[in-house]
């Protein structure tokens, strides 16, 4: 089987598994959790484009998620815009914002880039909290309408599940396409050696800004979907902790791996559900996971799987000899 065929087949299997999942989990509570797995996967896939492909860290991605949510929320709840139009405006304006700050921010590297994105995230978070007239401040913004198509309204978990996963699967497919393409290779080249990429003719500055913008737009879409699904948003969902959580998802899954991003998102979404007893302390588990993965499993789960598979096939070959 060629690489390309394996890629398509793998994706079809994954998509099929997602589409039939609701039939196995009729329980509405689990379905609700799976909706969140969808949103978080969408976010992790978006961040993976920047962090996993191009190797550029962002500790402020919750801000783009929040911008999407708040622009959609405010336009629909307070100004009765059509939700789809609001979603489009949210995605475009977040993209424009990311494009503009992308140039100065992505000139920075490593620790400085981390600090700058973090600073940006916190500024946005403060604005969500302090512009009370617009956003409702810390107590949140209620009354956001569901998305609808004509008479058909996405007003329960099963409908939202399919709505959100349609976006998530699309984003995953796009990422997979990108990975094995001219631009994907250029991005991964930047990750491994920026000077060599430049000398090979890659316009590193522009490409970084492009992928940053794309990542922000997808995050904003996730934000809009979140707002219209929850019908209520508050700043607490878009703070520094959530940015760190997103980075943790990508790291756990394995830098660059699209399915890894899904695994990371799934684990970090499900974990707190299993760790109910820990309640507030789940953040400690993230911290521990982050440290352990970086120290002992630098390729994340995806990398771990790959080595395991390789070992397996090698031992099988040896057995055959």
């Amino acid at each position: 089987m060629t690489e390309a065929k394996r890629d398509i087949l793998g994706f079809l299997l994954f998509a099929a598994a997602v589409l039939i999942a609701p039939f196995f989990f009729a329980d509405s509570y689990i379905l609700n959790v799976l909706v969140f797995v969808g949103i978080n996967t969408l976010l992790a896939v978006a961040l993976n484009l920047l962090l996993g492909f191009a190797g550029q860290i962002s500790l402020g991605h919750a801000a783009f998620f929040g911008l999407g949510a708040y622009i959609s929320g405010v336009m629909t709840a307070a100004h009765s815009f059509d939700p789809w139009l609001a979603m489009l405006i949210a995605a475009v304006s977040t993209g424009v914002a990311a494009f503009i700050i992308g140039f100065p921010i992505l000139k920075l590297k490593g620790h400085y880039l981390a600090m700058a994105t973090l600073g940006f995230g916190i500024i946005v978070y403060i604005v969500f909290n302090e512009t009370v007239d617009l956003t409702g401040g810390p107590s949140g913004l209620p009354g956001i309408p569901n998305l609808s198509l004509g008479e058909f309204s996405f007003d329960n978990d099963i409908k939202n599940f399919y709505l959100i996963w349609a976006f998530t699967l699309l984003a995953m497919r796009i990422s997979l396409n990108l990975y094995r393409s001219r631009i994907g290779r250029a991005l991964r080249a930047i990750h491994d050696s920026e000077v060599a990429a430049r000398v090979a003719g890659v316009n590193v500055k522009n490409l970084k800004v492009q992928i940053f913008t794309m990542s922000a737009v997808i995050s904003a879409l996730a934000g809009s979907l979140y707002a219209h699904t929850m019908t209520f948003i508050s700043p607490a969902s878009f703070g520094f902790n959530f940015s760190v959580e997103l980075v943790t998802m990508v790291i756990i899954g394995g830098l660059g791996s699209v399915y890894g991003s899904f695994m990371g998102a799934a684990i970090l979404t499900l974990l707190p559900e299993f760790l109910r007893i820990f309640h507030d302390y789940d953040i400690i588990v993230y911290g521990l996971l982050l440290i352990l993965i970086i120290m002992f499993m630098p390729g994340g789960l995806a990398g771990g799987f790959r080595t395991a598979l390789e070992r397996l096939s090698r031992s099988r070959k040896q057995g055959a000899d």
Partner: protein, 250 residues
């Protein structure tokens, strides 16, 4: 082909290059030698646009390209290899060479994301061309191995293949023989001549005198940032100033 005029580079108080001028003829193999810290790598870094210059100019085929960004110089057909091999370690050997073809392809982020038909066709073309380069440099058979797991000598060779991929006009090589064994060095000499015969002008920074004297037609000697001598290998070997500079280093 390449002309450097009055190149000067200061790092704070240190003058790494002091008014260096030289010119490289089309289709030639030119060597640059000099003791450690002479400024050879710095010269390459400036010519390829990685460092800014303090003063001086660079001309590529008669056009002033001083201060151009590396990616624009690549488009004009100027490529290089690095003293400390710079590979894309997590990508396969083939993918490394395909990045080398970046300037010979144009699919953007949208057509790549959506797998546009033009992108699919271009992808096939790039892949074939990259395979040809691997053949040219004698590396078929390892196309799908991660570049990071190659032995050192192979890594150097891959870097050359990647630089050669776009069919450059001129290629700067920074110590390509460093770390190679004598067998590999001999192969390298053949490869360098083959590259030149295929139409790429070569500039070579190298400490391996045997290699330099063997393949280069002209040699430029740098010492402490200054040009000390320039001439055919024979002349350089007999130049008292050069001998003094190398002996002084011991």
């Amino acid at each position: 082909m390449l002309e450097i005029r009055g190149m000067t580079k200061k790092f704070g108080g240190l003058i790494a290059l002091d008014d260096v001028s030289m010119s490289v003829g089309k289709g030639s193999i030119t060597g640059i030698i000099g003791p450690n810290g002479a400024g050879k790598t710095t010269l390459f870094n400036i010519v390829t646009g990685l460092y800014t210059r303090s003063s001086g100019e660079v001309y590529l085929e008669g056009t002033d390209v001083s201060g151009y960004a590396p990616e624009n110089l690549a488009r004009l057909g100027l490529v290089r290899t690095f003293q400390n091999v710079e590979l894309f370690g997590r990508m396969t050997v083939l993918e490394n060479v395909m990045v080398g073809l970046h300037t010979r392809s144009r699919s953007g982020i949208f057509s790549c994301s959506l797998k546009w038909p033009t992108h699919i066709m271009e992808e096939k073309r790039i892949r074939d061309e990259a395979m040809q380069r691997l053949e040219f440099t004698g590396m078929t058979g390892i196309a799908d191995i991660p570049a990071g797991s190659l032995p050192f000598g192979m890594g150097r060779r891959l870097e050359i293949a990647r630089a050669l991929a776009p069919g450059p006009k001129i290629m700067l090589m920074d110590e390509p023989a460093a770390g190679l064994n004598s067998r590999e060095t001999l192969d390298l000499a053949d490869l360098i001549r083959k590259i030149r015969d295929a139409g790429t002008t070569v500039v070579l920074v190298e400490h391996d005198m045997e290699l330099v004297m063997d393949v280069c037609e002209t040699i430029v000697v740098l010492n402490l940032g200054r040009k000390l001598a320039e001439g055919a290998p024979r002349e350089i070997q007999e130049n008292p100033a050069v001998i003094a500079a190398y002996l002084g280093e011991e």
